[in-house]
Amino acid sequence: MGICPKCGFAIPGDEFPDGLCPDCLLNLGLAELIGQTVPETSPGSYVGHYRINARLGEGGMGEVWRAIDTKLGREVAIKILPDSFAAYPDRLARFTREARTLAALNHPNIATIYDVGEVEGRAFLVMELLEGKTLREYIGGKPVEIEKAIMLATQIAEALEEAHAKGIIHRDIKPANIFVTARGRIKVLDFGVATQTEQTNPDGSTGPTLEALTKPGLVMGTIEYMSPEQARGQPLDARTDLFSFGVVLYEMATGLPAFRGSTTALVFDALLNHDPAPVSDLNPELPSGLQEIIEKTLKKDRGDRYQTASELLRDLRALGYDPSRGLSPAMSSQTSIRILCVEDHPVFREGLCRIIGSQQDMMLVAQATNATEAVKQFRLYRPDVTLMDLRLPGADGTDAIIAIRGEFPEARIVVLTTAEGDAEIQRALRAGAWAYVLKNTARNELLAVIRSVHAGKRHVPAEVATRVAEHLGDDELTTRELDVLRCIRDGSKTKEIAARLNISETTVNSHIKNLLRKLEANDRTHAVTIAVRRGILHV
C-alpha cells in the first residue's frame, strides 16, 4: 500500500490501475469538469477561480479576456501569457517578481494588478477591467483638444511619478499602453512588463531583443517611442520614460508621431539624430508653455530633459489645469496657487483658510490636522504650496515634510511655527522646507512668502538663516564628495568614478554614502536632484 504524495490517500496495493492514486485521478476529471485547469482559453472555461467570459483582445504579451472573479464576484481582465514564457523560467520568474512590485503600486492612473499566477504551466495576470479605449485610439491621428491633452498628460505624468518613486521604470510608454477610461481617467498599463521584450547584453546593459527589432509591425510601433538611450542599448533610468512621454505628448498635441520614417532605420535615424518638427508648426494654437514642455522632454541628451516626473508635473500643472476641478473652462494666464494647510489649532487654521480664501490667486485645496493626514492629503491633491505647522500631534511637521518630500521631492513647503529653536528650524530646513515663517508674521508677509515660494524662490528670514548657517557646515559636502557627485551627475558608475578620481571603489562608495546622508537623498539620482535644487551642483 502506498501513500499519494499529493493528497495523502492510502493507495491500495493492486486494486487500482498502475498504482496511481484513484482519488487524484478522479479529481482530475472533476477539476476539468468545473474548469479548474487552464485550457486553450474559451468562454466558460476557468483559469484558477476566474471564469472566462469573453475575449477582449490580444497583444504582444498574450491574450486578454474579460472574466469573473468567482470568489469576489467582480469582473476582471485576465491576461494569459503565451507558452513562450513558460519556456523561459527566468522570464517567468522575472515577470512574477515585477508583477508583485506592480501590485504594490496603488495609484488612480496605474492599472491595478489583482493577481498573478501559474496554472498547469501557463502564467496569467489579473487586472482591473477597464472600459474605454487606448490613447492611440483616442488620438486617432488628430490633435487632441489642448485642455484634454494637458489633463491626460498630467495624469500620465502622475502615474510615472508614482512608479518612479517606487523605483519602477515602465520602459514602454506609448499610446497603446495608455488607456483612457470612459470617464476620461488615464490608466497606464503594462508597467514593468515591457522588460520582457528586453535582453541583457554582455556589458550588462539592456536593450530590445532582436525579435523586437526585426518583427514587422511590432517593431515600428515600439521604436517610435523609444528614448535615444534605449535605442542605443544603454543603461536606462526614469528619464527614458520621460522621453517616451514627450513623444506621446507630441502626438497628442499634433496628431502626428514625432519621429517618422518609412523604414526602421529611418525612424532610428530621426530618433537619434534629428529633432522633430516644431509643434508650433503643426499646431499653432498650442500654448507656448506646452510647447516648451514638449521640447524639453524630447531632448536627446537625458541630462537636458526633465530629471524627474515631478519636475515635469510642476510645469504641466503650471499650465493651469486643475484636476480637482476637472477640465478648466479656459486656459487662463493667471494661475491659482493651490494650497494645503496643515495646522492642528482650529482657530489658527480657520484664520489661515480665510486669508487664503480672500486671495484671487490662491485656492485652498485641502486641510490637515496631523502629519499622517498631511501626507495623505498631499498625495491626493498635489498642492503647489503647503503650509506646515511644525508642532503637530503625534509625528511633527518636520516628519511630515520628510515623508512628503521623500515621495515628492519637488514639494514646496512653508513652515509655520511659533517656535524659534535652532534645532527645530534646522531640522525643518534640512528636511527640505522652502520657507520658514513665524506665526506672528504679518498677513501680507505670509502671502508674499507663499507667492514667492510658488514662483520658485526660497524664503528664510535673515535672522533664522544666520542661526542655521552656523550649523550648516556640519553637513557640508567635502570637496571629494562634490567631485563624486559631479561624476554621478555625468552618469558615471562607481568603477568609472574610481578611475576618474584615482581612488578605490570602496572609497567612492563611502563618499556616496556620506553625501546621500548629508543630502538626505534616497539614491544617486535623488542626490543630484537635491544638489541641483540647492544650488550645490549645476547641470
Binding site: 490501475p17 487524484c24 485521478l25 482530475l28 485547469t37 519556456a87 498547469e120 504551466g121
Partner: protein
Amino acid sequence: MLTAPPRALPAGVEYARAMSRFPTTSWSMVVAARGHPAVGGRDALTSLCQAYWYPIYEYIRHRGYPAQDAQDLTQEFFARLIEKNFAGQADRTRGRFRSFLLGAIKHFLAAESRHARAQKRGGGTGGFPLELGTTANHYSLPDRDTSRPDKNFERQWASTVLDCALANLRTIKHFEQLKPFLTGGDSESSYALLSAELGMSEAALKVAIHRLRRRFAQSLREEIARTVASPAQVEEEIRYLLAVIRG
C-alpha cells in the same frame, strides 16, 4: 453453454484487469446487440461479455460461491442478459449502467438455485466464447471486504473506469514516463530528471504533463458519460466514485 472452454490465461492482475475492463461503450453496445443479430450486434455482445465478466465474477465470489460456480454463473448471467433481453430492458434514460448491472446480478442470483444452474448448464443459448482468466489470485487480493459485495463491486467499477481512461492514453509518446506526473510527483528535481532523460526542456515537459492531464480528464469523463443517463450526471458519478474509493 460456452462454445469453447475457458482457456487458462496467464495469471496476473494486469492482464485480468485488462480483460475485465468495463467497456465504456457498454450501453451503446448492449443496445446495438439487442434486436440486431447482425455481425455488428454479435461483436458488441461478445465484447460486452468479455469486458464485464470480472466485476460480475468478483461480485458472485463475494456472495460466497466457489470459484468454478462463480465462473459458470458469470457466463450464465450474460447469457441471460441476451436470452431474456435483460439489458434490452435497461432504460438508458434512467439510472446508470453500473447500477443496472448490480441490480441485474442480484436478481439473477436470487432466482437461481444451485441445482437449476447445474441443470441448465450446457443448454440454452449457444453461449459465448467467453475467455475467463484465472481468478484465484484476484480473489485472494488483500484488503477485500468480503462482507460487502456491493461495495466491492463498485470499487472494482471505479478501478475499471480509471483503467479504461488510462488505456486511451497509452499511445501517447512517453506516456509511461509521464504517467507518474498525472497525480503527483511534481517536484522541480523530478522535472529536471525526467526532462534530461527525455531530452526536452523542463518547460516543454510541464506543458506535456499538463496536456496529458487534460487528456486523461477528458478520457475519464468520456468513459463515465457513456454509462450514465445524461452528461449532467458525469460530475455526480465522479463524486460518487470518489466516495466509493475513499470508503
